[in-house]
């Protein structure tokens, strides 16, 4: 583990975040967007855990606890997100998010 530094983890997190962000921005499929959000959240998790590991004694477990919270939040968010997707499907017979422009003000 000697070769691995905080930067490696940060780069991994960045790559994951960019992939997730691209996925969210580019996909029109609602489930795809949800997948992208999961990637972004997990990228943040990696950052949390990494900072926790390299962050010194003062806040040794804070990052890990936050990561657990985020996982839990992600699960809840997935449930609600999928429920919304189902509702959209039932109403519009599609999960293409461009079809939801009827929500415009």
């Amino acid at each position: 583990m000697a070769g691995l530094t905080l930067n490696h983890f940060l780069v991994l997190g960045l790559i994951l975040f960019l992939l997730g962000g691209y996925c969210v921005l580019a996909r029109r499929n609602a489930i795809g967007i949800l997948l992208g959000i999961e990637l972004i959240l997990n990228a943040a998790n990696i950052n949390y855990v990494a900072f926790s590991f390299y962050g010194g004694q003062a806040a040794k477990y804070d990052g890990q606890v936050f990561a657990i919270f985020v996982i839990m939040l992600a699960a809840a968010e997935a449930v609600i997100g999928l429920a919304i997707v189902l509702a959209i499907y039932q109403n519009l017979r599609t999960i293409d998010v461009s079809a939801t422009e009827s929500l415009s003000g």
């Binding site: 921005l25 461009s98 415009s104 003000g105």
Partner: protein, 685 residues
């Protein structure tokens, strides 16, 4: 007198007629329809006759006691107990009230029997008997009450029944307004009666005996002494004057007599029972009942005697010109009641009560006789359309004649014994001018009574042919009653013979314990002219004979023309008398019209001032609301609308941002994050 014997059957004398009334009020209409009038008659008459039987039993029981102990008490229950005033529902029989009870139930029972014939065709037969029973109940309550409040209950009750029975044929406006008149006149007297009770109670409370029980008042009245009520008038005088005003209302004396002639609008048995034999004598009874109190007030006694004498003469002068057969009798009743008041007013209580009793006999007989005539003529009451009826209605004629002789005071008929006793007492107690009024009234009585007899029963029949065809003697139920009352009118006076004929007066002896209080004895002892009685009786008879002769010459032999006499001899007095001295008109102008004007003024005030104020308040409210509405509409709503419009306008602009495109939002989000990062980067360097 301190320890009256307690018995428990007196209540039934009073309650039985009440039960009869309740029965007929509740079931009478149905019974009459289903079973016929007979069922109504049985209860209606039965209860009164049963009451009479009980009264006779009580009378016999009383005779067994020693004279000074002849007091029976029937105490039902404690009525109320307020501020030291403890009164019971209790009935109290003493020689005076038993005499009155026998009259009420006896004569009343006869009149009930008579009514079964007289009212036979009436559709409201049951209602008549119900009210008649209720009247009997109220009258017996008045008579037998052991305290003055209970007496007042009866006093009011008879007034109510009188009102209802005068207006019995209520479909005719005349009858109902006659009922109203009687009731309203009586209210004036009742008011005085109540105030008298308050004053008496207050006076007795001040000497430490707060009571209204009659026998206790008798015991403690002397303690009132010269206690003053107002302006130097003693309590006794004040109370008795008010009580007498109450009596003038109930007993139709000046100034409250005008209702009685109109009360003849009721069915004839009602006139006989209520407005001749019983209710109108309540005032006399009340004074005799409270003799110990009246005897303490010489001023009141003088007022009573004076009013009585003036009324006796006054009513007699009206009686001589009336043409309605019942109206003549009504004025005669007022006149005879005047005699009774003179009796009790000069301290001859026994004579007053005695005349009350004989009057009940002969006046009931006269009224029922006139009822028989009216019945035979199919409702005709004007004597100018009668005449020659004596051989068609023999029973009615003979009984009517007997009663007429009685009322005129011809010996040996009952009226002579009682009336002459009063006339003599007036002179004997030192009131010669009262004697002279009564003496003239006696002559007038003979004139108008024989005028009535001649106009009704003698000469040619002046009615229609149809009436002549239908003339018939009354049915047995009516004529039998007439015969009984005729016999009583003849012989009823035998219980108290004038002293110059014989010393036989069980009536006086029987009543003596009632009038034995020291103050009463002090009054009755004031006799001045012993031994002249016979001469005065002869003097009275002389004038009576003159009156009779004048009536005979005018109305039977027609030697004197009544018309010419009235026109030529006494034009003004005749007119005055014929129009009843314009007393009704006087009341109309003095009381009725001002009252109507006052009500109209009050009505106008209500309509214009009060309603105006109310309308003004309403208009003010409307105006205020309108202004408040304007404020609401333009200021408050304006502000609200302004806020709403501002929000709307802002929303209209902002909504453009809401494209609905999720990708758009996400790009926006990204851009915002970038901007934030950029700003931070710039700020931190």
């Amino acid at each position: 007198m301190n320890n009256p014997q307690t018995v428990d059957f007196i209540r039934w004398i009073v309650v039985l007629p009440l039960l009869g009334a309740a029965f007929n009020f509740l079931l009478g209409a149905t019974l009459q329809k289903k079973l016929g009038r007979f069922a109504v008659s049985i209860t209606g008459c039965g209860v009164v006759i049963a009451s009479f039987a009980l009264a006779v039993a009580a009378f016999l029981r009383m005779l067994e006691l020693v004279p000074s102990q002849r007091f029976l008490l029937d105490d039902l229950w404690r009525w109320f107990d307020i501020g030291g005033l403890r009164l019971d529902i209790a009935f109290w029989l003493d020689p005076l009230s038993i005499v009155m009870t026998l009259i009420v139930t006896g004569v009343g029972g006869l009149i009930h029997l008579y009514s079964t014939g007289y009212m036979h065709e009436d559709p409201s037969y049951w209602r008549f008997f119900a009210w008649l029973n209720l009247f009997t109940f109220a009258m017996l309550t008045l008579v037998l009450a052991d305290n003055l409040w209970l007496m007042f209950v009866g006093w009011e009750g008879v007034g109510l029944c009188s009102f209802a029975l005068i207006g019995f044929w209520y479909t005719d406006q005349v009858n109902t307004s006659a009922g109203n008149k009687a009731f309203i006149f009586n209210r004036v007297g009742d008011w005085a009666f109540v105030v008298a009770l308050y004053s008496l109670f207050s006076g007795l409370s001040k000497v430490g005996h707060p009571t209204l029980i009659i026998r206790e008042i008798a015991r403690y009245a002397p303690l009132l002494g010269t206690q003053h009520a107002y302006a130097g008038i003693s309590v006794a005088t004040f109370v008795t004057l008010l009580l007498f005003l109450g009596a003038t209302g109930k007993s139709a004396q000046i100034p409250l007599f005008a209702w009685l002639p109109d009360a003849m609008a009721g069915p004839t048995p009602v006139s006989a029972l209520i407005h001749a034999a019983t209710m109108v004598t309540a005032g006399v009874y009340m004074i005799a009942r409270l003799n110990f109190l009246f005897s303490m007030a010489p001023l009141t006694m003088l007022v009573v005697a004076t009013i009585g004498a003036v009324t006796a003469l006054f009513a007699a002068t009206i009686g001589i010109t009336q043409n309605d057969i019942k109206r003549v009798l009504a004025y005669s009743t007022i006149s005879q009641l005047g005699y009774m008041f003179v009796g009790v007013g000069v301290g001859a209580y026994t004579a007053g009560v005695f005349h009350l009793m004989t009057h009940a006999f002969f006046k009931a007989c006269l009224f029922l006789g006139s009822g028989s005539v009216i019945h035979a003529l199919g409702g005709e009451q004007d004597m100018r359309r009668m005449g020659g009826l004596w051989h068609k209605l023999p029973v009615t004629f003979w009984t009517f004649l007997v009663a007429t002789l009685a009322i005129c005071g011809i010996p040996p008929f009952a009226g002579f014994m009682s009336k002459d006793e009063i006339i003599w007492s007036a002179f004997d107690t030192g009131h010669p001018w009262i004697w002279s009024l009564l003496w003239i009234a006696a002559g007038l009585t003979a004139f108008y009574m024989f005028r009535q007899v001649y106009m009704t029963f003698f000469g040619e029949f002046r009615g229609t042919d149809e009436q002549a065809h239908h003339l018939h003697e009354a049915p047995p139920s009516m004529s039998a009653v007439l015969v009984v009352l005729g016999l009583l009118s003849f012989a009823g006076g035998a219980v108290m013979l004038p002293r110059f004929i014989a010393t036989f007066s069980p009536f006086e002896v029987f009543l003596a314990p009632v009038f034995d209080s020291p103050q009463t004895l002090a009054v009755t002892a004031q006799t001045h002219h012993q031994g002249l009685e016979g001469y005065f009786a002869a003097l009275s008879l002389l004038l009576v004979a003159a009156g009779w002769l004048l009536a005979d010459l005018t109305y039977r032999r027609k030697i004197l023309s009544a018309d010419r006499m009235s026109r030529f001899l006494a034009g003004v007095p005749y007119t005055l008398s014929f129009h009843k001295y314009y007393v009704d008109e006087l009341y109309d102008y003095a009381v009725v019209r001002p009252y109507m004007m006052a009500t109209r003024a009050a009505g106008w005030f209500d309509l214009h001032i009060i309603d105006g104020l109310v309308n003004l308040a309403a208009a003010t409210t409307v105006l205020g609301s309108w202004l408040s509405g304007l404020f609401d509409n333009y200021v408050v709503d304006g502000l609200v609308n302004l806020a709403a419009d501002a929000t709307l306008a802002a929303g209209g602009r902002l909504r453009r941002l809401q494209t609905g495109s999720i990708n758009g939002y996400l790009y926006g989000l990204l851009a915002a994050v970038m901007v934030i990062l950029l700003v931070r980067a710039v700020l931190h360097t």
